[in-house]
């Protein structure tokens, strides 16, 4: 018999990879700002207001939406945002 004081790890045994944060932009002037609507009710109201304010500050605003708030964003959408935007703001609110 093996040592009864040994147990098997029930977890996925994964170490979360450490990723460097993208450097914060010093200014939003001329930056491409993505607004991601997760399609929760009235999230668009919040994002519409943000868009106004960002445009006033000289940012270029691009709008994106998840097909459903219940599932993670499709990989193509994530790639599209990463390619087109310098920063992204995600609206989680109901």
């Amino acid at each position: 018999m093996s040592d009864p004081r040994v147990v098997l790890d029930p977890t996925g045994e994964r170490q979360a990879p450490v990723r460097e944060r993208t450097p914060r932009p010093a200014t939003l002037d001329g930056a491409a700002v993505g607004l991601l609507d997760i399609t929760k009710a009235r999230g668009d109201v919040f994002l519409d207001r943000l868009e106004e304010q960002l445009r006033d500050r000289g940012a270029k605003v691009l709008r994106f939406a998840k097909p459903t708030f219940t599932k993670v964003a499709p990989i193509d959408l994530r790639r599209e945002i990463a390619e087109q935007c310098d920063v992204v703001i995600e609206a989680l609110a109901d």
Binding site: S2, V6, L8, D9, P10, T11, T68
Partner: protein
């Protein structure tokens, strides 16, 4: 396993054997003659007293020598066995040892006893240990001062209740419940998207308290939960109450002793309790989904510890759920549903199907909110006494669903925001429409519960269909 044997005579004995006790003086005699003699004791490391036996209570030597009977006496030359006797026989022992007068006071012969290696429990334990040694999961050694149960809590592996420590032996024994290879991938478990092996499911099933014969049900539940249709990731992450409900159908449910009768949705049955719990532990431990982490439930519900029951099929007025959902009656299956807790329906006066359907419809309308439609599925759990009303009326399950659907066509004017003095509701665009409460296929009906009580239950769902979670039925394999 190979063992190196000392040259000379080797005896294997156990105190529990009368013949071994009988020959103890013979062994003492041989020892006193300075014959090279090594004695292995299977059960008591002090037996025979005073002869300095070698402890073989772990039976490593006995298994390596394939000892069938004790006492066994071997002759070993150059490390190899060259001759063997079993039991006691003066006629055989005397020439074997070269001591003519050996055991003068003893009966001429006595048969031996079964070796401890034949103890079925012990053989199973050794097999489990051997199997356990082959498992791939990381070994976690518990500290000498740690309490086993506390150690599970401290490592964050429990749902808040104590778990059974998943020793390699326990996991190996549980794996005997399936024909699948331990390293086979069952599913990719959200939210961390970890490929989960049969072995990892078994580790968590041990912790949940499962028996080996429950394992195929747990495996099917994990597979069903991790489909895109069921969307356990979203179900976990939502602020809503819901968690995975496992409804078990088919002959396996009874074979493993599941409860479909009195208190079917409640506590007290090991299979019901531990199968549902095992699924949740897989999500927690393998998938990494924990309350306050990805699980953002505002309130949650007690069924998130475990929520699993079987359908009462033997006297149901209808075909069982898995048959409604396209599987043969002879198969066994799990159906996963994104469930709130159950709420009761009381109707002790309806004796005709129309009246009882009216009650069901009125109560079903309130699922999540009386003014919301098409957004949430539900399970209607019909008790035997309510089921009898429909049987006597000759209503099939399909007919009951049609009748409920007809009663749950909701006028848009009652649903729009502000209607009834309630801000919650649907956009004005539905004002002139009529909407069904449930999407097509969004209401499931099962039969369960004890024989007494004119009560049924509604188990509300979560965001339904492709935009949330759809019920998933999966056949249980071996």
């Amino acid at each position: 396993m190979t063992v190196s044997l000392p040259d000379g005579l080797v005896a294997v004995v156990k105190r529990d054997c009368p013949t071994c006790r009988l020959v103890a003086p013979v062994l003492a005699d041989l020892r006193s003659r300075s014959l090279p003699l090594t004695i292995y004791s299977q059960d008591d490391p002090t037996f025979p007293d005073g002869l300095e036996p070698v402890d073989d209570t772990a039976l490593d030597v006995s298994f390596a020598l394939d000892v069938d009977t004790v006492p066994t006496l071997l002759r070993v030359e150059d490390g190899h066995e060259t001759a063997r006797l079993v039991g006691w026989s003066r006629e055989q022992w005397a020439p074997f040892t070269g001591v003519a007068e050996l055991g003068a006071g003893l009966p001429p012969h006595r048969p031996g006893c079964g070796s401890r290696t034949h103890d079925p429990d012990l053989a199973a334990a050794r097999a489990a240990a051997a199997d356990g040694a082959r498992l791939a999961s990381r070994r976690v050694e518990l500290g000498p001062s740690e309490d086993d149960a506390e150690a599970m809590f401290e490592r964050g592996w429990t749902d808040g209740l104590p778990v059974v420590p998943p020793t390699p032996e326990r996991v190996a024994r549980l794996l005997a419940g399936t024909t699948r290879d331990p390293d086979e991938i069952v599913a990719v478990v959200p939210p961390d998207l970890v490929p989960c092996t049969v072995e990892k499911v078994a580790v968590n099933a041990v912790m949940a308290g499962c028996r080996p014969d429950y394992l195929p049900v747990v495996l099917a539940a994990v597979e069903a939960a991790c489909t895109d249709e069921f969307n356990i990731h979203g179900l976990l992450a939502t602020t809503w109450f819901s968690g995975p409900l496992v409804i078990v159908n088919g002959p396996l449910a009874r074979a493993i002793g599941m409860n479909d009768g009195i208190n079917a949705l409640g506590q007290g049955n090991r299979a019901n309790a531990t199968i549902g719990r095992a699924l949740q532990l897989v999500v927690r431990n393998v998938g990494g989904g924990r309350p306050g982490g990805v699980d953002r439930a505002t309130l949650g519900q007690p069924g998130k510890y475990t929520f699993c029951f079987a359908e009462r099929e033997h006297d149901s007025p209808w075909e069982p759920l898995h048959v409604t959902r396209g599987l043969p009656a002879s198969s066994s299956a799990v159906t996963l549903f994104a469930a709130e807790g159950p709420r009761g329906i009381i109707d002790q006066l309806s004796r005709d199907a129309e009246s009882l359907a009216n009650t069901f419809a009125a109560c079903l309308r309130a699922t999540t909110h009386p003014k919301l439609a098409l957004a949430f599925d539900a399970v209607l759990v019909v008790s035997p006494e309510h089921g009898r009303v429909f049987r006597e009326a000759g209503w099939s399950k399909a007919q009951l669903l049609e009748e409920l659907d007809a009663r749950l066509q909701l006028p848009g004017a009652e649903l729009v925001r502000g209607a009834g003095g309630i801000a919650e509701g649907l956009p004005d665009a539905v004002q002139d429409l009529t909407l069904p409460k449930f999407r097509d296929g969004g209401l499931l009906i099962v039969h369960a519960g004890g024989g007494a009580g004119l009560f049924s239950a509604i188990i509300g769902g979560w965001a339904s269909g492709a935009g949330g979670s759809a019920p998933v039925t999966k056949e249980i394999g071996s």
